[in-house]
Symmetry: C2
Subunit: 153 residues, 2 copies
């Protein structure tokens, strides 16, 4: 996800890091408005004042872009015991990004690529809990949260 | 989901119950070929030799039609203990319909109507386990299965 391209010089175009921030901000705003399904990279490019090809140079897919936003907006917290580790996942799923992650999990059922990206988002939370619980207990603790998040009215 | 319409008489068109079976069979075949996302009611109608409006008269949505197929193909088993109850859900999610249910759970994240239908599919399994475990334990036992089913590579 890094690039060796030199930043563009002057001419009013934002430097690469700024352009990336603008793309991420525009994506987050669109996600908050309409969720993952409504996310359009054409519209992200328009709002960020960049070309769609610039987005794809940096992120290979919508899902990859959204995964970066999740990592940026909900960095993995410190957790000194099992409860705190489980609560970290609970905060993610019940917080402002929970709907987006749930939607991404949905999308992942029909796309191996999206599934790999969702696993990359979720796996660190699993590892956090696994420091205090075995595999089965970990999946039960996180699974109960997932069950209620995905299957509540 | 029942109807009081009299069955059509003669003229080579199948009777109502037969037509329903043909619709369900055609839907199942399409689901097995392409999954929930690829399911097209136009194509179901064509394969079942019926009008699309006949499908909608009987089932208000794609999700409702699929829910009926899940109930028909994977009827809730008898289960005399907690383990057997959990295994019933495991069989559903890891069996031939598991991918379809997972896909429907995905779709449900962006549609309250689909979510209600998924809950109608899953809730009987939850009730089965709840005869032997409290709410939290039930959600952990089923959640661990869901976690692994939805988030494995």
């Amino acid at each position: 996800m890094t690039t060796n391209d030199p930043p563009p010089r002057g001419r009013g175009r934002p430097r690469r890091a700024e352009a990336d921030e603008q793309i991420l901000d525009a994506t987050l705003a669109m996600l908050r408005d309409g969720g993952y399904r409504e996310l359009s990279l054409d519209e992200v490019a328009r709002r960020a004042g960049t070309a769609k090809s610039s987005i794809y140079r940096r992120w290979p897919s919508k899902a990859a872009l959204v995964a970066e936003i999740v990592r940026r907006e909900a960095p993995l917290p410190e957790a000194s015991d099992c409860d705190a580790s489980v609560r970290a996942f609970e905060s993610l799923m019940n917080g402002p990004l929970g709907g987006i992650v749930a939607s991404l999990i949905g999308e992942a059922q029909d796309s191996a690529e999206t599934r790999a990206i969702v696993i990359a988002i979720i796996e660190p939370y699993r590892q956090l809990v696994r420091r205090f619980a075995d595999d089965e207990a970990t999946d039960r603790l996180l699974g109960a949260l997932l069950f209620r998040r995905l299957l509540s009215e």
